[in-house]
Symmetry: C2
């Protein structure tokens, strides 16, 4: 109890997170909890993290339930670890109001990595108060980035808007499909096919896998941005993620495709541009929240009361009154 | 064509609307179209209307489809007209993206009043761009108020949030129920029973009407704000609106209950307080929209670009950057 009341030394937590080793995982978990609670300390955490970002490639993995997304993520973690990379996993569940405090806990597939100091795993409730994706998600990504992750995998259940929002936070978006789920063409409706940088056809040894791949290739052939010279043409990787990192699972090819996308983005200045756009969007969204809170604090205030009285008395119209209110902020 | 391009003389339209007669209806329709289109002229209209408000009692009529809301509204218009009152009707449909340009058009029941200069009828699509009730609704109410209406009836389909929003714009909220629709207790879920100032049990000659009234009385007996001394105790009026304004239709009693509520509000300073609260809410909402638009206009600007670059470079965290962005507004 005394411990939970003790003032948090944010700078020290960030140092611990960056240092590696078993204490690192605890510090990462603690920092993510801090940003999730939107406590006053959130700003302090963001400030402490700022100098330590920009290393990690954020990879969004999306796809409908049943395609084997968790299995793919877990196998991908193994492949990246075998390559000596430090890996973060953020499992974002738009349907759950619960965030996982424990680093492993609910993610059975991830148990393989439970004792590995080079892997950070965290599940998060993703819904923010205003319906959009929680503002904590980008901050949690920053925590994992600052902790020295080379790659952060963000796994989300494919449900329309959430997929698109996650993609907007990722450097590289991986869309996982599988045969027999009728996913191929339907996914196009959510606009996610246009956004994906890498396609995975998982359960590749099942009937219909080739058809899914053919459907994807056909859609690509229809043109769009990918047909321009020098453009990134999203590869289609067939995997059998349940086989792990065995020679014929295709997971190594997926890891290679993700790395190749990073190289391409760096070469074409796309990575920097994406991150710039992302930062701008995040700043705007925080700024709007700040202004909304200031307006809420005005609610019931004397200044607003005077303006409302003038509108009721016909001495001002509500637009002029709103101008004056904004001017007082 | 030349006509539609000609600059609108807002002040003249307001004068015409206030003057009465056939030209008045056309001016009212024109003004409501102007506020609906959120054109730059909206502010001009609001300013021109401001001195001419505060006369009309805004009465919200709500209830589930099938209770006979339109019939009740139409009969109420007849009763109010027989009493020499000028009446506006705003039919708000949260499910329709269409607004009625014509003053009558789609409202068959209202045909009785088609040739009456003392009645203004307008249907509006109510959904705003941000999901809430369109900002045009309060402005349309102001147009009808300025046009000299003694009573403005706002009719809406009962669908949860929209009902509550309409109630927040009304001086008096009438909840229409009917037997056989299972409406009695269910309505409580939407919180509308707590808000209603007058209850109507329509189709009063049908089986079950007495039971609906008894259920309502029982709920009232459970206490709450209505049990305090001097408090308004919402009356329950039984109507057979399809009979029009005949002696046994109950519509005269409804008109009387609505007028009684206005008198009570005036005596207890409730009317002024409700209008003050409403004006404050409207000012806040417009102010938030103004700030949002300013932030949007900042999108892609050099200032935001510089801030985003600093965040990407790790020289600032997004919260500090947002502070600076707000400071530039």
């Amino acid at each position: 109890m005394a411990d939970s009341r003790r003032a948090v030394d944010v700078a020290e937590l960030v140092e611990q997170a960056r240092a590696g080793g078993p204490a690192s995982a605890r510090a990462v978990a603690r920092l993510i909890s801090l940003v999730e609670n939107s406590a006053p300390v959130l700003r302090e955490v963001a400030a402490a993290l700022a100098p330590h970002g920009g290393r990690a490639q954020v990879v969004g993995l999306t796809g409908s339930p049943g395609v084997g997304k968790s299995t793919t993520t877990s196998a991908l973690v193994s492949a990246l670890r075998a390559d000596g990379k430090r890996v973060g996993v953020l499992a974002v569940d738009p349907s759950s109001p619960f965030s996982g405090g424990a680093l492993l806990g609910d993610r059975v597939r991830m148990q393989d990595h439970a004792t590995d100091d080079g892997v950070f795993i965290r599940s998060m409730a993703s819904r923010g108060q205003l319906g959009g994706l929680s503002a904590a998600v980008p901050q949690a990504l920053r925590v994992l980035d600052a902790a020295g992750c080379d790659v952060v995998l963000v796994e989300t259940v494919g449900v329309g808007q959430a997929e698109v929002e996650i993609a907007s936070m990722a450097d590289t978006t991986v869309l996982v499909l599988a045969p027999g789920l009728g996913d191929g063409i339907q996914a196009a409706k959510a606009g996610i096919i246009e956004i994906a940088d890498v396609f995975v056809v998982n359960k590749a040894d099942r009937d219909g896998a080739d058809q899914v791949a053919r459907d994807l290739r056909y859609m690509q052939s229809l043109g769009g941005r990918h047909s321009e010279a020098g453009a990134w043409r999203p590869p289609i990787v067939k995997t059998s993620a349940a086989k792990g990192v065995s020679a014929d699972s295709g997971i190594d090819k997926l890891a290679a495709a993700i790395e190749k996308h990073r190289d391409w983005m760096t070469r074409h200045d796309v990575l920097a541009q994406r991150r710039r756009d992302r930062a701008a969007t995040e700043i705007e969204s925080i700024a709007l929240g700040l202004v909304r809170r200031r307006l809420e604090s005005v609610h019931g205030s004397a200044a607003l009361g005077v303006l409302a009285d003038r509108v009721v008395a016909g001495q001002a119209d509500p637009y002029t009154a709103a101008d004056e209110l904004v001017a007082t902020l």
